[in-house]
């Protein structure tokens, strides 16, 4: 076992060696511009790009013509949301999303609010889910777009997107989903799920960084987006800019591997995640699972360790790479807005750790992580005035804290 151990696959995944191998020729001899129609260099680049388009499309049961290359899911989300808002301005100006979206959805929506759009940010239940009923009730005759993520990046909760997709179809409203955390990991079928636009990213599924895709439905209905980047008219005018051929080839290969491996990989990763969960919950009291107990991405475990602050806890097992919802790990000094939206108190948000496993996680690594985390939690609780007060029977919620 090599240290440090990587358990932050929701942030980014390592590039699969098979992906790197596929990319290398396009970083060496095959450097052509896919838009060059006049010579072999361009043709072979274009051919590689089109093959990758097929590979990505087949993961979500789409046609390759419906895939637009972008720089990543942030850009895909921006094109989907701003592009639809601009293109369908005459039909309405109302967008429905939720409070636990990634900032790459929330911020474009907030930006649109400043230019006359109405945005409904739906609250979520204690597991981080919205219901079809909530979406239905929020719809008005001005609603043009519903944008709800498939799997949450912090807590792993899966949204009932199939039901929401069906509702959108019934009401003639476009449905966008940010599938950054689920593409290649959880089955997605844009037809069966009624998805009109879908964002995904290369570096969350063992491909390289700097490449992503946006699925844009071409039939029933034909969805159109105003571009965010204007220029040479690449990608059917939806996204100008010379194509990142090595990145595209890498994402295509990554998608193909995900499609092949998904049935076994998702089970394997979920079993490791459950082993991690059982190890922690078996040895520590006063710890809480954040997110949905069963409807969650297979690789995610988000846990709050009561009486212990997240950043100091991570320092206690610094050879296991994870992330925390604690304010101390962010520049904003605010704890995770996702956890707060679930009604998790600020104190528990500060105490949260996100473990996200992946293709290369092993049982040995999980067991090592359990041991390190348990030891660190116990040590820090011995050092925690809150733990001491709780042991004395003091109700911490009734204490008058000298807030600062």
């Amino acid at each position: 076992m090599r240290l440090p151990i990587y358990m932050d696959n929701n942030a980014t995944t390592p590039v699969d060696p098979r992906v790197l191998e596929a990319m290398l020729p396009y970083l060496q001899g095959r450097f052509g511009n896919a838009a060059s129609r006049s010579h072999r260099f361009g043709w072979e680049a274009e051919e590689a790009v089109e093959q990758a388009r097929e590979q990505v499309a087949s993961v979500i049961n789409a046609s390759s013509k419906e895939i637009v290359w972008t720089s990543g899911a942030t850009e895909s989300n921006n094109i989907a949301i701003k592009g639809v808002a601009a293109m369908y301005r005459d039909q309405g100006n109302h967008i429905i999303t939720q409070v636990t979206e990634h900032k790459a959805v929330i911020d474009p929506c907030k930006h649109l609010e400043q230019s006359g759009c109405q945005v409904t940010f739906l609250p979520v239940d204690k597991y981080g889910r919205v219901s079809v009923e909530q979406v239905r009730e929020a719809m008005t005759d001005k609603t043009i777009l519903v944008s709800l993520m498939h799997g949450n990046n912090e807590i792993g909760t899966l949204q009932p997107i199939r039901e929401i997709g069906a509702l959108c179809k019934e009401r003639g409203v476009l449905f966008h989903t940010d599938a950054s955390q689920t593409f290649g990991k959880v089955p997605i079928d844009v037809e069966a799920m009624g998805i009109d636009l879908l964002s995904c990213s290369g570096h969350k599924c063992y491909g390289p960084k700097g490449i992503g895709a946006l699925y844009v439905r071409r039939k029933r209905p034909r969805v159109r987006c105003e571009p965010v980047l204007h220029g040479g008219g690449h990608e059917r005018g939806m996204r100008s800019g010379t194509l990142n051929v090595p990145g595209i080839v890498g994402m295509g290969k990554a998608a193909e591997l995900c499609r092949e491996l998904m049935p076994t990989e998702s089970k394997k990763v979920a079993a490791l995640r459950d082993r991690l969960k059982d190890g922690l919950f078996g040895q520590l009291d006063e710890i809480f699972l954040n997110g949905h107990p069963t409807d969650r991405t297979p690789n995610n475990l988000n846990v709050s360790f009561l009486y212990v602050e997240g950043e100091s806890l991570m320092m206690g097992f610094d050879d296991v790479a994870v992330s925390s919802g604690s304010a101390c790990t962010s520049a904003s000094l605010e704890p995770s807005y996702v956890l707060k939206a679930l009604g998790v108190g600020d104190d528990l948000a500060h105490s949260s750790i996100r473990f996200s496993l992946g293709r290369f996680t092993t049982e040995e690594e999980v067991d090592y992580a359990v041991e390190r985390v348990v030891t660190a939690v116990r040590r820090l609780r011995e050092m925690s005035p809150l733990y001491e007060m709780a042991q004395e029977g003091i109700d911490l919620s009734k204490v008058q804290w000298a807030a600062h």
């Binding site: 100091s312 320092m315 101390c328 050092m383 809150l386 600062h404």
Partner: protein
């Protein structure tokens, strides 16, 4: 965030973790911060009959910097009179631990904890802020 070796040392080997009996008249207790802000420090001093701090202990819920700041504070408090201890400034802690700018509030909290512990001690022992001498309540106990 990359921390200084001194912060990591205090985090890994915190000095003076523990508690005194808060009802002991020789003990002053300061609890500052709030769980929802992500840090709570409990700092305690124990004084002799002359008002000199003979021992100090802490418990902290907070980030590595908060733990290091309070650990360092307990080291500095020992041997000082309570009025000397009031001279400890958060900036001294920032300098000693090389705290990064976003962690300066941890040192402020440690200074607040020192002041709160001393205030508690003085109140218990009816010490006038201006007076250096101490009429210990424990003398009659």
């Amino acid at each position: 965030m990359s921390y200084s070796d001194k912060i990591i040392d205090h985090y890994t080997h915190p000095r003076n973790v523990g508690s005194f009996d808060k009802n002991d008249p020789k003990v002053g207790t300061g609890i500052v911060g709030a769980p929802e802000c992500g840090d709570v420090m409990k700092l305690q001093i124990k004084c002799d009959a002359t008002g000199r701090i003979v021992d100090a202990k802490f418990k902290t819920f907070g980030c590595g910097s908060a733990i290091a700041s309070s650990s360092l504070a307990t080291e500095w408090l020992k041997g000082k009179t309570v009025n000397e201890a009031l001279q400890i400034k958060n900036t001294d802690i920032v300098k000693e631990l090389a705290l990064p700018p976003v962690k300066i509030h941890c040192s402020v909290l440690a200074e607040d904890a020192i002041r709160a512990a001393i205030a508690d001690y003085k109140q218990k022992n009816h010490v006038d802020d201006a007076a250096e001498s101490v009429s210990s309540a424990a003398a009659g106990a």
